[in-house]
């Protein structure tokens, strides 16, 4: 669809110009990553995207976004520490007035770099705890991961950052929530986010393998509750329930084009970091257009603003101003039409697609993969080159 196609579409739809600023800017600085997580939300075909933006391009993106009113900045990837200009980008972002969040596995975070990032003005580090098979077993059984995370956690504390740990949960680790929380406690975490896998990208490809059963989710919630009640050192725990187990959808991104703007390593601007999968939208690139035009004028960013794009049951639903019909990417991935209601919603005619997936996960089976099941596909360059999104 072309630019400005929404204008005049409906009197109930705010004109694109009424959109507020992109308060949240996420820069996926690189798809390079030392890890191979099977639950990564990066696109399956990341190897086929264009070359990474250079330092000057990223600096220009930061300036343009800040001028539009962006204030929360996420630096992510891939592993953002792979970029050796990270300190330069942080320094400029700080000068511009961003609040800067680094999302990292900690791999590559040594004292030299954390000292440089701190003095450049980095505000916050979210340490993610990742990998599904080997590293989790390694963590549960031995020392290598514990040593890395302990070292990084000590650095984070030494440089007076709050210790924020993010753990992605799935079928293979969700039964270990109690141990994970004890581990987080030993690291001195102030905040722990137990985030159940969201099924996009590699995670969607591996959904059948990664989806926990309902009883696993219930046991994990109970273990979290027990841990919260244990007393001792304060540690805030957020348990993010997997949305497949819900009956109403999440207000994804507060509606596309509402507050969130992501830029991928090759400069593609997206209204959600998973939106690249949405068909029929010509996502603009920051190499060729400035962010003001991208945010306010491009067809890709205007398409899902307002509610003119909605179908029933969303269009006449009183909750449409609260949940915006849920997630467009999930609607597309599951139903083949991004304008459908997110099938997580029990009002969706496609809700069975979600309940069927949960029912499949509810089959009693051991945590380990049986020979008859599809193998777990790990995120890697080689796999990326052979898989189609």
């Amino acid at each position: 669809m072309g630019d400005g196609a929404m204008i005049g579409a409906s009197t109930t739809t705010p004109a694109p110009a009424a959109a507020g600023p992109p308060l949240w800017l996420l820069l996926e600085l690189t798809y390079r990553c030392p890890l191979h997580c099977a639950f990564c939300y990066n696109p399956l075909d990341f190897e086929r995207t264009g070359p990474e933006l250079g330092t000057d391009d990223w600096l220009r993106v930061l300036r343009e976004a800040r001028a539009l009113g962006a204030v929360q900045l996420g630096l992510s990837g891939g592993e953002p520490l792979v970029r050796d200009d990270l300190e330069i980008l942080v320094a400029e972002a700080h000068r511009l007035g961003f609040y800067i969040n680094l999302v990292t596995s900690g791999v590559g975070l040594n004292e030299t770099r954390i000292a440089a990032l701190k003095s450049a003005g980095l505000d916050h580090i979210q340490l993610s705890f990742q990998d599904s098979g080997k590293q989790m077993n390694d963590f549960l059984s031995s020392t290598r991961t514990f040593d890395l995370k302990s070292r990084v956690a000590a650095l984070i504390k030494k440089y007076e950052y709050p210790m924020v740990l993010n753990v992605v949960l799935h079928r293979f680790n969700i039964d270990h929530v109690g141990e994970i929380l004890e581990f987080a406690d030993r690291l001195g975490a102030e905040y722990v986010e137990l985030a159940n896998t969201q099924y996009y990208g590699w995670a969607f490809h591996n959904r059948e393998q990664l989806m926990p059963s309902r009883s696993q989710v219930e046991r994990a919630e109970a273990a979290t509750k027990r841990f919260r009640e244990r007393g001792g050192r304060p540690m805030q725990i957020f348990f993010v329930v997997p949305d497949y187990f819900e009956r109403r959808p999440k207000p994804c991104m507060n509606g596309l084009g509402s507050v969130f703007l992501a830029v991928t390593p090759d400069g593609t601007a997206l209204p959600c970091h998973a939106a690249r999968t949405l068909p029929g939208l010509d996502f603009p690139n920051v190499r060729r257009a400035d962010l003001r035009h991208i945010w306010y004028d491009s067809g890709a960013f205007n398409h899902y603003r307002g509610d003119a794009w909605m179908k029933e049951p969303c269009r006449s639903c009183p909750d449409k101003t609260r949940d915006f019909g849920g997630c467009r990417c999930q609607a597309y991935l599951l139903t083949g039409d991004a304008a459908n209601a997110d099938p997580v919603c029990e009002l969706s005619p496609h809700h069975h697609l979600v309940t069927d997936a949960v029912a499949l996960a509810d089959r009693e089976r051991p945590g380990a993969l049986s020979a008859t099941e599809k193998p777990l596909v790990f995120r890697s360059s080689a796999n990326s080159r052979t898989l189609r999104p």
Partner: protein, 99 residues
């Protein structure tokens, strides 16, 4: 319009010096025409009076001084109970510490 009752036991000593919690950053955002509180992966947009009070919570000024400064700045009087009530709320949300 109701006249707020005078609280015989204000929640804080007027000599106390409130300070923003270190995990927050207070900032004026022209694009939102508001002060905002920034914290890890989040933001609270403040209304005008909240912003005016919080920007004076520097850990050096007492509640009495903050109140007097606000009354001067806005050419009014009787803000004491509003400031106390806001600080009680802000401490409850852990935006500020009032020692």
């Amino acid at each position: 319009m109701t006249v707020p009752a005078v609280d015989p036991t204000p929640p804080f000593d007027p000599a106390a010096r409130p300070a923003l919690e270190p995990r927050f950053r207070l900032q004026w955002e022209p694009a939102q025409n508001a002060h905002v509180l920034l914290y890890p992966e989040g933001m609270i947009k403040l209304n005008a009076s909240a912003g005016e009070i919080l920007k004076r919570c520097d850990g050096h000024s007492s509640i009495a001084e903050i109140t007097a400064d606000l009354e001067r700045a806005f050419a009014t009087t009787g803000l004491g109970s509003d400031v106390m009530a806001f600080l009680a709320m802000a401490q409850g949300k852990r935006w500020v510490t009032v020692p």
